[in-house]
Amino acid sequence: MVVRPYNDELKYLEKVSDHCWRIKKGFQPNMNVEGCFYVNSRLERLMLEELKNSCRPGAVGGFLPGVKQIANVAALPGIVGRSIGLPDIHSGYGFAIGNMAAFDMDDPLSVVSPGGVGFDINCGVRLLRTNLYEKDVQPVKEQLAQSLFDHIPVGVGSKGIIPMNARDLEEALEMGMDWSLREGYVWAEDKEHCEEYGRMLNADPAKVSMRAKKRGLPQLGTLGAGNHYAEIQVVDEIYDKWSASKMGIEEKGQVVVMIHSGSRGFGHQVATDALVQMEKAMKRDKIETNDRQLACARINSVEGQDYLKAMAAAANFAWVNRSSMTFLTRQAFAKMFNTTPDDLDMHVIYDVSHNIAKVENHIVDGKERKLLVHRKGSTRAFPPHHPLIPVDYQLTGQPVLVGGTMGTCSYVLTGTEQGMHETFGSTCHGAGRALSRAKSRRNLDYKEVLDKLDQMGIAIRVASPKLVMEEAPESYKDVTDVVDTCHAAGISKKCIKMRPIAVIKG
């Protein structure tokens, strides 16, 4: 890594508009394209401070600052357009979380990188609507939170309550949500309202190690730990009435359920296995990167293809996982209100993926090209009339579900034409970490965090309360800042804001 004084570093950065910065070539060695990032004034300060800290003499270890990571990604072979940082960006393994990059499928040198997908493959958010209102749920929210907690196993090492054997798992990995449909855990309409229709067709369970399958099997249908949660939320604000009504959200106070989860230990193992393979492939094919964490392999190499197939299987795992939790949530609600999920109108509004690489067609320099789009901590946000979004959202644009942090609000945005041009149809995914987990544990007290939620009138059930401060709102950037930046930059449009009334956490 090049080490320069902070003021010299700044010469490579240029503010091109109120919400967008350009990272010029030369900021890191061998950049093939430029980088850029989207911020508002507050996020900008965080971003530059992080860079400044890393420029202090003697600063070693830990993750590179987000800006540097964006620039390192811009140096990967085959990248097209720009390496893009979204407003919720923070340092991660190889790629920053909140970094998206697209690689040309027709360039034989192009690479796929597990670091560009992340360890929690197809971590994502699903939003269920109900026809209940806050007044129906407030009086019973403690019981409802308990009921959800009883139905959905949470926490590190939790085990699911949907019986599965090894053969079921193989089928689920190949079929994704089609498996859940076949077994009757979800509704046909759920599949319709899911990115990729809940199934990646190139999944190949044979490319997944036994170890990953062993880790994954008991965990299917569990929420997991870390930043994952299930929340009962109420609609707090509607910015775009027509788009909201297309999603079945009519008025303020309507109750929705948000499920944020991923592929658990399964995806983690798939990523770990791939990284080992890729280091070998890099040596063989003489691929050089600026950062060892950016392990990658040519898309067309055996390692690259094997990873894409295993990643697709992990993505399918995550969809089955969220589908199983959808089933359990519907059961919990139906029991509580003594009715059926149908009568509660508990439809899936949408299901988005945060950590995934997909083959998509985009217009680059006026020509249509087939790209492998890596989105890590970034949500796909396709504009109205895009053929890959469900027919119900053809007029509104793809719904983008942005989960906030525990106790803060969440948003639904819609994709825009401008986002399609500027960011390959991508936008933010959440609040984005501001403090590292270790730092949060040192600085915050878990009792205070829980008390604060209590004061806000939020019912909470946690499997491991002593880790709750890692996920406290103080550890994160302000999700409203993040969403407002995306809205102001035009890469997605605000539609609905929700606030939580009950939280289930790992």
Partner: protein
């Protein structure tokens, strides 16, 4: 749309054709006949040439419309539009090779026409000659009765008629419940159509809505099929004994 057609025909002032003015309308008709259609010999165009003598011109125009086989169209705009389309078609047929690079493979009217032809032929099992004049007249009459706009290819028009009958007049359509729900204003949606040409905006929005409607039907069929299969395969189970909340 008129402007586009006039441009395509190489009209000297496509922007300045004022439709409200009958005289200007007359001179445009004359220009098209003189330059493009050439249905009459030069001598026969005499009556149309009398732009300054309205009675004489109208008489000539009536005959001209009949000779062109123009369907009964009410407004001046519709008539001009039809005549211009006719002219464009003739222009194209004069030298199709010239446009081969643009639409040789998927010229919409041609391929649609062929498809429609095959479709109709297969329905009638070859027992009816669909190019027969009586058949054509029958289709045209049906279309007039149902207010289906004119199309030069009567088979495409027949398809449109069939669609109207299916959507509005069939027994199934009559018994159908009206669609409930909040209407979505299609002209104020998030979708940008074309910012520079309002004349294209509306038809494009309408076409997109039709496309969405047929997609919705397809998706509903898919969902119904899935549900039918689920009735056989689905057997969701849970076993709370397996559950373990981690720490």
């Amino acid at each position: 749309m008129l402007k586009l057609k006039l441009e395509a025909l190489g009209h000297p002032t496509p922007n300045d054709v004022a439709l409200s003015n009958r005289k200007e309308f007359a001179s445009t008709i004359l220009w098209v006949e003189d330059q493009k259609i050439r249905l009459y010999t030069i001598e026969d165009r005499e009556k149309l040439r009398n732009i300054d003598n309205p009675t004489m011109w109208e008489e000539g125009y009536m005959k001209y419309c009949a000779d062109l086989n123009m369907p009964p169209l009410e407004t001046q705009q519709e008539q001009l539009s039809w005549i211009l389309s006719h002219a464009v078609r003739l222009e194209f047929l004069d030298d199709p090779a010239q446009f081969a690079s643009i639409n040789s493979k998927q010229d919409p009217t041609q391929s649609n026409g062929k498809q429609a032809h095959q479709k109709v032929q297969s329905i009638f099992d070859g027992k009816i000659n669909v190019q027969d004049k009586a058949f054509v007249d029958g289709v045209r009459l049906l279309a007039t009765k149902l207010d289906v706009p004119h199309h030069p290819n009567h088979l495409l028009q027949l398809e449109a008629v069939a669609r109207v009958v299916h959507e509005r007049l069939s027994p199934a359509a009559k018994g159908r419940q009206p669609i409930l729900g909040t209407p979505f204003p299609f002209d104020t949606g998030n979708d940008v159509v074309s910012s520079n040409d309002p004349a294209l905006d509306l038809p494009m929005r309408i076409l997109r809505l039709l496309q969405i409607q047929s997609l919705r039907q397809l998706q509903t069929h898919i969902n119904e099929t899935i549900v039918a299969v689920q009735n056989i395969t689905a057997n969701p189970k849970t076993d709370t004994k397996l559950g373990k909340v981690g720490f």
